[in-house]
Symmetry: C2
Subunit: 224 residues, 2 copies
């Protein structure tokens, strides 16, 4: 019933598409909650199975290991942010306004999406902030990149870089600025919460307006 969004993710990330079954969607749902509670290091499939009243072996039929599950969630997030940007910039022509919307999407990707009830976007965002970079800081990065596992991230950054180049076609670092705005957004929310002396901004419970203001300031001053 109703509109169902199916997020297109690289098939190498999973053994069996978790979006296609109740158990699969449950794995996604509970892994977000448990990762948010325990962090990636303490998280494992045994605990996840207990949490969702299933078994370790069942989860292993969907994901090879917890690293690929994390990468699946991170890819999901990248796609979701790209989707948010797409729908929110639909009728907007001014690239400066588009970049503002992009930055807002980076920062407040926490707004819950009613069409995917098994993903708590706000919780997923916290997981990305705390664990996201672990998905691509591994010894297997080149091998996995060869399999296209980071395509969603690259597509997102390419789109943002396009908008940046629209604003200022002579700007030499559109890709670097795009990825930096994304990384900076997550990083400074993390810093504000845990290592506040590494930043100047403050955040409240899901209130990231100062981060947004800072990113807009950085972007505007670099692109003028």
């Amino acid at each position: 019933m109703g509109i169902e969004i199916k997020i297109a993710l690289n098939e190498g990330l999973y053994l069996k598409d978790p979006q296609d079954s109740v158990l699969g969607r449950n794995i996604i749902k509970h892994s977000i909650l448990l990762l948010s509670d325990l962090g990636f290091e303490a998280f494992n499939f045994k605990k996840l199975a207990q949490e969702m009243n299933s078994t370790e072996a069942s989860i292993y039929r969907y994901f090879e290991n917890k690293h690929l599950l994390l990468l699946y969630l991170v890819s999901w997030y990248w796609e979701w942010v790209a989707y948010l940007i797409r729908i929110n910039t639909l009728n907007i022509d001014d690239p400066k306004r588009k970049l503002e919307i992009i930055i807002n999407s980076f920062v407040s990707a926490s707004v819950d999406n009613p069409t995917t009830d098994y993903v708590d976007e706000s919780k997923l965002h916290s997981v990305i902030i705390a664990e996201g970079m672990k998905a691509y800081h591994t010894k297997e990065v080149d091998e996995e990149n060869g399999k296209g596992f980071f395509k969603n991230y690259k597509q997102l950054i390419t789109m943002v870089a396009g908008v940046i180049s629209e604003i200022n076609p002579t700007f030499e670092y559109p890709y670097a600025l795009a990825s930096n705005l994304f990384e900076m957004s997550n990083n400074h929310i993390y810093f504000a919460k845990h290592l506040p002396r590494l930043t100047d901004i403050k955040v409240g419970e899901n209130k990231y307006s100062e981060v947004e203001k800072m990113l807009n300031y950085f972007a505007t001053n670099l692109l003028r």
Copy 2:
């Protein structure tokens, strides 16, 4: 004999100061090499012991676990960069010139330091680029921050933020810019090597001049 530099690090990071014994210095030396080879996930104390012809139990007498060993190395790196900046800005008054030197120190902290023969600074830099952020992205970050485990990072950023504020006292984000320049430096070297579509710059074997140029461009345009 000769000049010996002893780097001051938080005592909670280790059980026994590794700088004070041959075995301890060997642990530092070989852990840098092995982390660089295997990455943090595949690295463990058993392999490290084999590599240096010692035993697991002996290493556990110096470090509680591999996470704290990584944090020790990362802290060492933060101190080493701060030291580099200090000696290279000794007689410099112009804060703009100071920031250039800071950026150069972030990027090329790879230059080997002759006074600490057990630390290969170039290899350590690669470890920081690939694994550094894992030292402070854990569930224990608040607890460890309370124990002062990240003091070296905060001091480094505070020093850089000071220079930034000298250049432009009205700039609102000195700490954020400082930490961003540091993180961006490591991140974009990593991207250039492994996920080149996330950046615009290219790097060669320990040749990071494009990163340096980009960071200077970002800093200059934000602070003018």
